[in-house]
Symmetry: C2
C-alpha cells in the first residue's frame, strides 16, 4: 500500500496572500460573494435549495435583461457554458459561422468543430470589431444554422456591437449565440432587445465572483431546438419519456436534460454545485441591488479613468478604443521595459496583479482590468500609482503623477 | 428595456436553515471546507495558485492511493469527471463494457453511448454486485477497449469489489475506469494496487465538501491514450504543437489539454475554479490529517452503528449487506408508513434530511447516509432518535430506544 503523504508533510489550511487583482480576470470577488460560499449546504431537493435555484434564475433574468424562462447556471467554468450552448444547439454536420476577432473566437470555432459542425470563420485584425454588414455578408454566403459570436474578447479588449446582429440572424433564420463571459455586468447586454437566442458567461469577470459557474440563457426558439433533441437518462427514464435519436453528444452539457432539472419536473441530472450556486446568486443580487445601469456606469467610469491614467503615464493603448470594453484596457509595454519582470514587481512590491497576453500580443501588451468589485476609484488610483513607480524603476520615462492625476480628473469631471 | 427585478423584490443574502444531511449526498460539509471557500481569490498564474494546485494534486495522490502524476480536478460535478474520463479514453466506435448494478451504471453506459462508443452492458439485480468471474466472462465475449465500472452505487448502496478487476483488465488489454464518487474516502480505494487506469469522484459524499469539483486520476497507460489524441487550442497553438485528427469530441473534457494546464507547461485551458479548488484541497487535507485508514474506519464504524440502529428499530435493510458501502444504508419503508410524509417530518421537525430513491426502489426504500463530516456517533444517534419518533407517529410499531441503544452498543463494543 502506497502512502504518499505522511501527516507531517501536509500543507496548512489555505491562506492566500493579499492581492488586488487588476488583470483581465479572475478579479477579487465581492466580499459578500466570498461569505455566501461559506454558508452551510442543504439537500438538493430541500425546499430552501429549489427556492434558491428559482431565485437565482430570476436574478439572472435581471442580469441578462430577459424574460427567458430558460435562464440557469451550468456547473463549470465559463467555457462549460459555451460548450453546453454549442453542443446542444448544433448537430453534427450543421454549418456554424464564427467571426473571429481574438482568442475566444478561435475557442468558439474549436468547440463547434469538436461538436462535428462544419465551421466557417471570418477574421478581422486583433484590436478591431466587425460591422453588422460584414457579419450579414458572411451569413448570406455560409448559410449557417448558428452564428457564434463573442461579445467581449479579453484577448484584445474589444466589445463587438451586437444590437443589430439578432435582427440579421432572425431575418436569415440563423440561431444567434454569444459568449458574454468578459463583458456581462460591465457593459450593456440586452438579451431580448437584441434578439439573442443563447448567451453564456462566467462569474470571474464583471460579475465579481470566482470561476466555476456559468450563467446561461436561452430564447424560446433555442429551447425548442434543445428540447427536440432530449433524452431522459437511462437510470431514471419512465415510459413515454423522449429518447431522441438525434441526441446531444454529451450528457453533462445536454441542455434539454439540464432544463428538466431546473424546471418544474426537477428531474435529477447532476447534483447542483450548492456553494457555487450561492456565489452566483450573490453576484447577481449585489449587481441588481446596486442597479444594473449603475453597475455598468461604474464600470464605464472606472474604465475611462484607467484609460486616461495609462495615457497620462505616456503608455500607448492597443486597439480601437471606441470599441473597447469598459472593464479592460491593453497597453503597449514601453520599449526597453522588461514586461514580465515589471509585472512581477507589481505583484511582489505592491500585491497588484495586472495581466499578460495571448497569441500575437504576447510580450507586447499588458492588460489591466477594472471589473466587478474592483471597478472602483481607489483601485484605479492605487494601480496607477504603483505602475508609475514600477515603470520608472524599469527605465521608462513617465510623467510624475501623470496617471493618478489624469484618472482623478475623470472621476472629478463625473462627480 | 425590460427590468425584470426592481430593487424592492430582491431576495436577501443566502441564509440556509440548519440541516443535518444524512441522505446519500450531498452531506453537511466539514466546517473548515466551508471556511476555505471564503478565502480571497488570487490570479490563475499567481505562484500561490500554482502551488495550491500542485499541493492539491499531491493531496489527492494520497486520497487515491496512487503515485499517478496525472492526478487533478475537473471543474464540474462528479459526472463531469465521469464524462471527462470516458470521452477522453474512448474513440467513436470503440467497444465499452459496463456492468450495471444500479442507476450509475446506466449513467456510465449512457455517457459512453453519447461518446459514440459501441456499448455493451451486463446487469445484475439491484442490491447485488458482480463476481470477478462474471466481469471476466463478459470481457472475453465483448473484447472492449474500456471497462467502465462503478465502485459504489448510491442508488443500491452496493460496493463492487474491485481488487481483482484491474488484473483481469490488464491480462486482456482492457483499460479500467471506475466511478468512485459515492465511495472514495469512506471505503478502501487502491488505485495503484488494484490496477485502476482512470478513476473519478466528487466532493459531496465521503470527502465532505460541496458538489462542483471532480477529483480524477489517470495511470500512465491512460495518459498515453489521452495524450495521443491531444490538440492544442487554436487561439494559443504554436508551431509543432500536436493537432490530432483523432481528437476528443469535447474541448472542456479533453484530458490531454487539461493535463497541459495542470502540468509544467501551464498552458491555459479553462480558468481554474479557485474557490472549488480551495474546497477540494481542504477536503483532502482534513482526510489525510486524520489519516486515510482512520477516516475509512470512522465510516465503517458509523455505517455499522447505523445498520444496527435501523435494524434495532425493526426496519428491513435492502440489498446484500455484506457488500454494502460503509457510508449509506437503504431501509424498506414499513408497510402502512407514508414514506414521503415521514421523510418530510424528519426535515420539518428535526432538521434532518434522509434520502428517497430512484428507479425500481422509488417509494420503496429510504437511504440514510453517514458520510464525511457526518460519519459521527452523535449524528448517528440523533438521526436514530428522530427516526424512532417519526416512525411511531406515522403508525409503525417500533421498539422503544431500539435504534439508539443498538447503535450505541456498536460504538461501545468498538471503544
Amino acid at each position: 500500500m502506497t502512502t504518499v503523504l505522511p501527516g507531517p508533510t501536509l500543507p496548512g489550511p489555505i491562506d492566500p496572500p493579499a492581492r488586488l487583482l487588476m488583470g483581465p480576470g479572475p478579479i477579487s470577488a465581492y466580499p459578500s460573494v466570498l461569505r455566501a460560499m461559506s454558508a452551510p449546504l442543504v439537500g438538493q431537493y430541500d425546499p430552501f435549495m429549489t427556492t434558491a435555484m428559482a431565485e437565482t434564475q430570476e436574478l439572472y433574468r435581471g442580469v441578462w435583461n430577459t424574460t427567458n424562462d430558460a435562464t440557469l447556471l451550468i456547473d463549470g467554468t465559463s467555457r462549460a457554458g459555451i460548450e453546453a450552448a454549442i453542443v446542444s444547439l448544433v448537430r453534427p454536420g450543421d454549418r456554424v459561422l464564427v467571426p473571429v476577432f481574438g482568442r475566444f473566437g478561435h475557442l468558439l470555432a474549436e468547440i463547434a468543430e469538436r461538436a462535428m459542425a462544419e465551421v466557417h470563420t471570418i477574421e478581422t485584425a486583433w484590436g478591431q470589431v466587425f460591422t453588422p454588414a460584414a457579419v450579414e455578408q458572411a451569413i448570406v454566403r455560409v448559410r449557417p444554422t448558428l452564428l457564434a459570436l463573442v461579445q467581449g474578447d479579453t484577448s484584445t479588449t474589444m466589445n463587438q456591437p451586437l444590437d443589430e446582429i439578432g435582427e440579421i440572424c432572425a431575418r436569415h433564420g440563423v440561431l444567434f449565440y454569444t459568449d458574454a463571459t468578459a463583458s456581462l455586468g460591465g457593459n450593456p447586454f440586452e438579451a431580448d432587445a437584441w434578439g439573442v437566442d443563447a448567451a453564456s458567461a462566467g462569474l470571474q469577470k464583471c460579475l465579481g465572483g470566482p470561476s466555476g459557474s456559468a450563467p446561461l440563457t436561452l430564447s424560446p426558439r433555442a429551447v425548442e431546438v434543445v428540447t427536440s433533441r432530449k433524452k431522459v437518462e437511462a437510470g431514471i427514464r419512465e415510459d413515454g419519456d423522449p429518447d431522441a435519436a438525434d441526441f446531444v453528444r454529451s450528457n453533462y452539457f445536454d441542455l434539454g436534460m439540464i432544463l428538466d432539472y431546473w424546471g418544474p419536473r426537477r428531474l435529477n441530472h447532476h447534483t447542483e454545485a450548492t456553494s457555487m450556486l450561492y456565489a452566483a446568486r450573490e453576484c447577481a443580487r449585489v449587481l441588481l441591488a446596486e442597479g444594473r445601469e449603475a453597475v455598468i456606469e461604474r464600470h464605464r467610469l472606472a474604465g475611462a479613468a484607467m484609460l486616461a491614467g495609462v495615457q497620462g503615464l505616456g503608455l500607448q493603448v492597443f486597439g480601437d478604443v471606441a470599441h473597447k470594453m469598459h472593464n479592460v484596457v491593453a497597453v503597449e509595454i514601453p520599449a526597453g521595459v522588461a514586461g514580465d519582470a515589471a509585472r512581477q514587481a507589481m505583484l511582489d512590491d505592491f500585491g497588484i496583479e495586472i495581466g499578460t497576453s495571448f497569441g500575437p500580443l504576447h510580450g507586447r501588451v499588458w492588460r489591466i482590468g477594472t471589473m466587478g468589485y474592483n471597478a472602483r476609484r481607489d483601485t484605479v488610483l492605487t494601480t496607477l500609482a504603483a505602475l508609475e513607480q514600477v515603470l520608472r524603476r524599469f527605465g521608462a520615462s513617465v510623467p510624475v503623477s501623470g496617471g493618478v492625476e489624469a484618472a482623478a480628473d475623470v472621476y472629478a469631471g463625473a462627480a
